[in-house]
């Protein structure tokens, strides 16, 4: 049993959404809690704290990872992207129109890809990274891409649709004429 006196604290500096943030936290501070409670970036949600649900997924150096399965101290000097950092608006909370959202965010809003919205940030980060590598997925591939995240509201069908629509929006914004296959 560890003693009851204060824990060793660590100065952690992480780049989040392009901005350097520092906080002094114990070694056991989960990255999810660090983002949410120390940096007050509450867009990242915590659904299970054992890595299964994917609600807490953030991008670490561009790759989706579970922030509940990382310690803040281990994220030292890495670049994190949260849902707040996906859109181009200076303040994500007031992004009112499609243009200030990234293609994935816009697609989810267009296709009713969310209901309660709690799991959504984890889907958005996952899909954003996925489309960077797979810009024109088929419907089946889109379904597979989201199969590591749990959603209890939507039945996933409109999320699959959102992934395909996001690929279209990306292509439209890039001025390309690449289209994805019709939603099944």
């Amino acid at each position: 049993m560890t003693d009851t006196t204060s824990e060793t604290l660590h100065d952690v500096t992480v780049s989040v959404n392009g901005v350097r943030h520092s906080a002094t936290v114990p070694a056991r501070r989960l990255l999810s809690d660090f983002l949410r409670h120390d940096l007050e970036l509450t867009g990242t949600h915590v659904g299970c704290e054992h890595g299964v649900c994917g609600a807490c997924t953030v991008l670490v150096d561009g790759a989706p990872m579970r922030s509940c399965l990382m310690f803040a101290v281990t994220a030292q000097d890495h670049a994190i992207t949260t849902v707040e950092g996906l859109c181009s608006a200076p303040d994500a909370r007031v992004a009112p129109t499609g243009e200030s959202m990234n293609p994935v965010q816009q697609a989810f809003a267009e296709c009713h890809g969310l209901q309660c919205g709690f799991c959504t940030p984890g889907f958005l980060t996952t899909v954003t990274a996925y489309l960077d590598e797979n810009p024109s997925p088929t419907s089946e591939q889109a379904r597979e891409a989201i199969s590591g995240n749990l959603c209890r509201c939507t039945g996933y069908q409109n999320i699959v649709k959102s992934v395909l629509r996001a690929a279209e929006i990306r292509a439209e914004r890039a001025g390309s004429d690449v289209t994805t296959e019709e939603q099944a």
Binding site: H112, L114, G117, F118
Partner: protein, 810 residues
């Protein structure tokens, strides 16, 4: 004319906020709050001998540690039994913190408040509780045997025993040419919203006021419960449901222990306190549902018409009954679905077990009832060698027979009387969609390839929009902004959007000018809550009525100012104008200014309104006796009874001939929830419901061992489906308006999940050729059934002896 808003697939107003990280869920609030954590019972049944917190007190950062003895007055009394019922003769509820005895693993015993959750958990780990363990009752058979008791003073573990009978069942059964008996079994699952429960409370010393937030489906209910428990005037307690990350029923129960304890501690300590339930806590100390054993005896004639239906249900209600016996009552009434039973008797026993308590989960007893009825329909078809859809249609209540009174009392204590529905039309649509009549060919083809496939069907009727009431309040600001509030809460159903659609349509304003608030007791003190697929029906209707009031008032004021008759006016996109002479107009913002005699020119609308100031009558007061200042309207909707939605689903499944793995190849839905406000949202609700149904049919169960430990209390082992497990859902709609409410709408929230277990069981049975009587079913379960079938323990379906692979047709 204003663009049609009502009935259109309008994009949700919520989403720009929610997709950019702007949602504010319970644990996103109160970064300065202390954190609560709980020591919960590791035993399913035990006496608490001693609690030693001496080591925990030393943990730096601990602010308070509380046990039952610390709870004053009503805080320490049993939690309320929310919905009593005459047949609930032995209702029992727990305490906010266990007193002397625990009755399920997870029951809270000690609350620790500390500077953060990590430290609170450190302290919990150091608290030593000594228990005398007691014999444990797990499972319905054990409860039913009554050999061991959950509560010493509840004989045979029976919380409630209820019987309803319509007609002379015994006589009809005796006279029936055919009878069958089915023994059926449905296991537990749970709502499992992605966000657990949570409570955050702040005490304002300067005003002696409590502000609390709860991830709840009823903020008005929580407010009243907490005020009563803490002995506070209602006026000094406010409760707000912030963004809520899913509910599905579990958050309608109130007050949860934490909803009492967290505000109590916040007042005691004079500091904000927060508790955010973690996933393990949600598994073992929230609520489950579904577990029932059922016995159906049915009598029918040669054509498959029902003559007598005699049903016995044994319902597992867990350790306590704070939410009464709503679930088995619903099972026993909604079991009848779209059918005329001839004569009907349903008897149920609601039984205590040493497990997490059972309260409504989406569908709320209907999935079990549908399972019983639909398994029975398939059994009749098999017995008589008839087509399964045909047997169903022969027993349908027909449109001309509406309204149809079953002669039973529904969950709201009112008659079970269907208001509308066109079941034959629904069935025809479903058969068309799934290709019912072509399936025999498909099966032959599949069999030739060595594949096993089956077709299943399930029909249901869902009572939605139960009372007693909801309210709507609408206020138009001088800027033209339309503020709408209703008291019930939102958990993702898109209320901000659909209620705005109603207001936009009724009032003639733009969607973007409408702002909807739900679940905030500061805005609407009288409300019931979000359950029983009631939000659209109840609040939607109330808001429509309120909008009509506001519209009438706006027209009255504008008519006066424009010196025309109200009948000559219309409201288009927020402007009141003369029909046929649109230049003669004023904005609703201006009407709002005119509605208030205190008319400081703070803004442009007020300045513009001065031109309409006109003359006033010095003999009349500025606000007439029958008027109020402000462009506001409020109304309540309170129906005489529920409105009944319905639906029919069909699925094609494939089972692996060797490994017994089960795959859903197609899933088809016909859904009738009356007039749709927003088809996109209705369809989303159907998708989500079906996915939960698929979870309940093929993946989710609560695996208790005999000592009452929940073996799969994690997302690793409680198998909620991912996208990879949910089929693409093909949905179509029928719109049979309800005659009961001003909008013709029926509830849609819960429908999707109701028939899924019945449909999948029907399809697997069809693929395998032997009866499926227990759900959920895993590949392993199916493999075991095949083995028992091969050993002769389970009989084959009759159809196998009549025809090899062809669906018999009538």
């Amino acid at each position: 004319m204003t663009t049609q808003m009502f009935g259109a697939p309008i994009r949700r107003k919520e989403d720009p906020r929610l997709v950019t990280g702007g949602g504010r869920y319970l644990d996103d609030l109160g970064h300065d709050a202390l954190a609560a954590a709980f020591v919960r019972s590791p035993h399913a049944h035990a006496r608490i001998v001693d609690i030693d917190a001496s080591e925990a007190i030393e943990v730096e950062g601990v602010v308070g540690i509380y046990v039952h003895e610390d709870l004053p007055g009503r805080v320490g009394e049993p939690l309320p039994l929310l919905i009593p019922h005459p047949t609930l003769t032995h209702g029992r509820t727990g305490y906010a913190l266990a007193k002397d005895e625990v009755n399920h693993v997870g029951e809270p015993i000690v609350m620790v408040v500390a500077t953060d959750r990590y430290i609170a958990e450190d302290a919990c780990q150091r608290i030593r509780v000594t228990y005398d363990t007691l014999p444990v009752v797990v499972g319905i058979e054990a409860a039913r045997s009554g050999e061991l008791l959950v509560h010493d003073d509840v004989p045979d573990n029976v919380a409630a025993h209820m019987l309803q009978e319509v007609g002379d069942v015994d006589a009809a059964m005796a006279a029936a040419p055919h009878t069958l008996t089915l023994d059926l079994d449905i296991e537990r699952s749970a709502c499992m919203p992605m966000e657990g429960k949570g409570v955050y409370a702040r005490w304002d010393r300067d005003r002696d006021e409590l502000r609390m937030y709860s991830s709840t489906q009823t903020s008005t209910g929580v407010r009243a419960a907490v005020a009563a428990k803490l002995g506070l005037p209602l006026a000094k307690v406010e409760c707000i449901a912030p963004d809520v990350g899913g509910g599905f029923g579990v958050k309608i129960v109130h007050p949860w222990p934490e909803e009492v304890l967290v505000p109590w501690a916040a007042i005691l300590l004079g500091r904000p306190v927060k508790w955010a339930e973690d996933r393990r806590e949600h598994f073992i100390s929230a609520a489950h549902e579904r577990g029932q054993l059922q016995q159906v005896t049915v009598g029918f004639d040669d054509e498959g018409h029902l003559l007598a239906l005699d049903v016995k249900l044994w319902h597992d209600n867990g350790a306590y009954t704070p939410y009464g016996i709503i679930v088995p009552i619903i099972t026993s009434t909604q079991l009848l679905g779209p059918y005329k039973p001839g004569t009907y008797r349903c008897e149920f026993w609601s039984l205590y077990t040493n497990t997490v308590l059972v309260t409504p989960y989406r569908g709320a007893g209907r999935p079990q009832g549908c399972f019983a009825m639909e398994r029975t329909m398939d059994a009749i078809a098999d017995e008589l060698g008839l087509d399964r859809a045909e047997v169903r249609s022969r027993n349908f209540i027909l449109p001309a027979e509406m309204p149809w009174d079953h002669g039973l009392l529904f969950q709201d204590g009112r008659p079970l009387k269907y208001d509308s529905g066109d079941f034959p039309a629904s069935l025809a649509k479903l058969k068309q969609l799934v290709g019912w009549d072509d399936f025999a060919d498909y099966r032959r083809q599949a069999e030739a390839e060595g594949r096993k496939v089956g077709l299943g069907i399930g029909c249901y009727v869902e009572g939605t929009g139960v009372g007693p009431y909801e309210g709507g309040h609408i206020q138009i600001e001088t800027s033209g902004r339309v503020n709408v509030s209703t008291g019930l809460t939102s958990q993702g159903q898109g209320h901000e959007t659909v209620f705005a659609q109603i207001v936009a349509q009724e009032l003639g304003v733009r969607m973007e000018d409408v702002f909807v608030t739900t679940g905030d007791t500061r805005k609407m003190a009288y409300a019931v809550g979000t359950f029983a697929s009631r939000a659209a029906v109840m609040s939607g209707s109330a808001i429509a009525l309120a909008a009509r009031n506001v519209r009438a008032k706006a027209l009255r004021i504008a008519a006066d100012a424009l010196e025309v008759s109200p009948e000559d006016l219309e409201i288009v996109e927020g402007t009141v104008r003369v029909k046929g002479a649109p230049a003669t107009s004023m904005s609703l913002g201006t009407v709002s200014v005119l509605s208030n005699p205190l008319r400081y020119a703070f803004d442009e609308a007020a300045q513009a309104a001065t031109q309409f100031a006109g003359t006033f009558d010095p003999d009349k007061p500025p606000v007439a006796d029958d008027e109020e200042p402000g462009l506001e309207g409020k109304d309540f909707y309170s129906p005489t009874q529920a409105t009944f939605a319905n639906g029919m689903h069909a699925a094609i499944v494939e089972t692996d001939p060797v490994t017994a793995e089960i795959r859903i190849l197609r899933y088809c839905v016909i859904h009738d929830c009356g007039t749709m406000i927003n088809p996109m949202i209705v369809e989303g609700q159907v998708h989500g419901g079906v996915a939960q149904g698929v979870g309940g049919a093929l993946y989710e169960r609560m695996a208790y061992d005999e000592s009452g430990q929940l073996l799969n209390a994690s997302f690793m082992d409680f198998l909620m489906p991912y996208a990879s497990e949910v089929p693409t859902i093909e949905a179509d709609h029928l719109e049979t308006p309800s005659p009961l409410n001003p909008l013709g709408i029926k509830g849609a929230g819960e429908a999707g999940c109701i028939p899924v277990s019945a449909v999948i069981a029907s399809a697997i049975e069809d693929a395998e050729g032997f009866p499926i009587t227990r759900m959920p079913i895993s590949p392993y379960d199916l493999w075991e059934l095949r083995r028992r079938h091969a050993d002769g323990e389970i009989p084959s379906l009759h159809r196998l002896s009549r025809t090899s692979s062809k669906e018999p047709t009538a």
